[in-house]
Amino acid sequence: MRHVLPFEKPIFELEEQLAALEAQPAPTPAVQDSIQRMRVEITRMTRERYENLDPWEIVQVSRHPERPQTADYLELLFDEFVELHGDRAFGDDRAIVTGFAKLDRRRVMVVGHQKGRTLKERNEFFYGCAHPEGYRKARYRMKMASRYGLPIVCLIDTPGAYPGVGAEERGQAYNIAVNLRDMSTLEVPIVCVVIGEGGSGGALGIGIGDHVAMLQNAYYSVISPEGCAGILWKHSEHADKAARALKFTSRDLLELGVVEEIIPEPLGGAHRNHRHTATAVKSSIVAALKSLETLSVEELLERRYQRFRRIGVFEETGSA
């Protein structure tokens, strides 16, 4: 069963009609003709719908259960992946996967959120919501990468860091904070891609990069639209309003200077074609690494510092 988002329904209905027509053993020229017209119509509808997604619809696309996840990119994008488990302190948080990987001939360290595909996986991975040990695991691997000169690729896809009793007991805030601080001084290029949900501190905890790209229908926000609606509109059912107010789509973030690049998705969203999506993500990462590799460590670190340093909007009269 395919998962159909509410606004995709008309498209899917047409696709079903098309499938029924195509299934006819000996189509008459008239049927062939309507198949042709239907195909054109479906493409037109999909394009029109996807070019005009509302921010709240984008959130739904970014959370689509069939959307490619870190595990898919590990398969489609890298030639080899050697997973490295555990944080050397508490456990092995499955919500963040880390390990060596080969990207063409480059050796890199990959750090990525993992949401899980099956129900069993999702429960084990806490739907991509990492605990403190996940951030510690990521930090351990990234520091190692820095020592051995391996560029770091971070794939961001989380609703947020896990809000639980154990997470608080084990220092959720502290571990995210230390990642922000320590990533800023790692002596290798860091390339981040928000592949789905960029949920607040949970995303930023592996998001301090030299080049940060976003997939077209990803979002990256200070708070989830539901959380924001719950606080400011007093009810999470206003999530669509919060989604519009927060300006968190890839287009918004490019405009705000928070990301460098939008990676286009195939027609109808990344979930429609994993392979094409992965190809686009790969060429973005490779191009970013190529240009970052020409910098000296000093240049790289200064550039990363300034990348975050310049973000912020305020007024200053200069009188004080």
């Binding site: 009793v165 959720q172 502290y174 904070a177 230390v178 926000s221 200070v222 912020g312």
Partner: protein
């Protein structure tokens, strides 16, 4: 301790504690800690600590500066910096109107104040967030002021003391720009640390979310006022996720101390001397 102190005046306190109407606004305070009704004057003379139960009330910026720094020693930096409205944000109220109301209420331009001062004769760079200004949340102004304070502390080779109070974490109204301030301040602190700067972080009630998950947790020494609420996710969110009763004292200073995430719990009365003492240990 607080119960024994109270026992002698039990009946008087019972009288005070009973719900009543028509209490003149401003003269009396209801303590969040023990629910006693206490004289505002008495609380203020006691460093904004409840004389009955030691509950530490939130302290406005001007008062905190007076309590902590040597008289007339504070030189404020970037006092003219004011928030913009980069997203043209509006919920039920527009961010611009909200800012105006908060500015009027607090007399501040934004939640953060930074500058240079002396604590018991020791020079330092001081910063604080005021939890009464949009929950002490961090938007661009808070992030920028703190980052500049860290950078200047690095240049001046001075210790840095930041007192945080923030129920809001990263400020929603400035969206992703607020989130990025966490990275910005943390990066400045990384450089400060590499330059062997001493950062003392003081957590006050409440310090949550994006503030807890950036500068507030990055102190070389982290002190907290007693019974402050400190954590990443709000207790209601945690409860909704875990679907269980939260442990007693969850996300308090005492909870953090027990779990190893802060160094010391310090009563407001001792805060100045404790900070001064730590500075003496760590500076040449």
């Amino acid at each position: 301790m607080s119960t024994t102190r109270r026992s002698g005046e039990q009946s008087w306190l019972q009288f005070l504690k009973r719900p009543k109407r028509g209490v003149p606004e401003g003269l009396w305070l209801r303590c969040d800690g023990c629910s006693a009704t206490v004289f505002r004057n008495q609380v203020e003379e006691n460093l904004n600590v409840c004389p009955e139960c030691d509950h530490h009330f939130q302290v406005p910026t001007a008062v905190r500066l007076r309590q902590l720094l040597d008289p007339d020693s504070f030189e404020e930096w970037y006092a003219d910096m004011a928030p913009g409205d980069p997203l043209q944000f509006a919920d039920r109220v527009s961010y611009r109107d909200r800012l105006k109301a908060e500015q009027k209420k607090t007399g501040l331009k934004d939640a953060c104040t930074v500058g240079r001062g002396y604590m018991r004769g020791r020079p330092l760079v001081f910063g604080m967030t005021d939890s009464s200004f949009i929950m002490g949340s961090m938007g661009s102004v808070v992030g920028e002021k703190l980052t500049r304070a860290v950078e200047r502390a690095t240049e001046l080779k001075l210790p840095l003391v930041v007192v945080s109070g923030s129920g809001g974490g990263a400020r929603m109204h400035e969206g992703i720009l607020s989130l990025m301030q966490m990275g910005k301040v943390a990066a400045a602190l990384a450089r400060f640390r590499q330059a062997r700067g001493l950062f003392i972080s003081v957590l006050t009630n409440p310090t949550m979310g994006g503030v807890a998950a950036s500068f507030a947790s990055l102190g070389d020494v982290i002190l907290a006022e007693p019974r402050a609420l400190v954590g990443f996710a709000g207790p209601r969110v945690v409860q909704a996720t875990c679907k269980m009763d939260l442990p007693e004292g969850f996300q308090t200073s005492e909870f953090l101390l027990k779990h190893g995430f802060i160094d010391r719990i310090v009563h407001r009365r001792q805060l100045r001397s404790e900070v001064a003492r730590i500075i003496d240990y760590c500076t040449r």
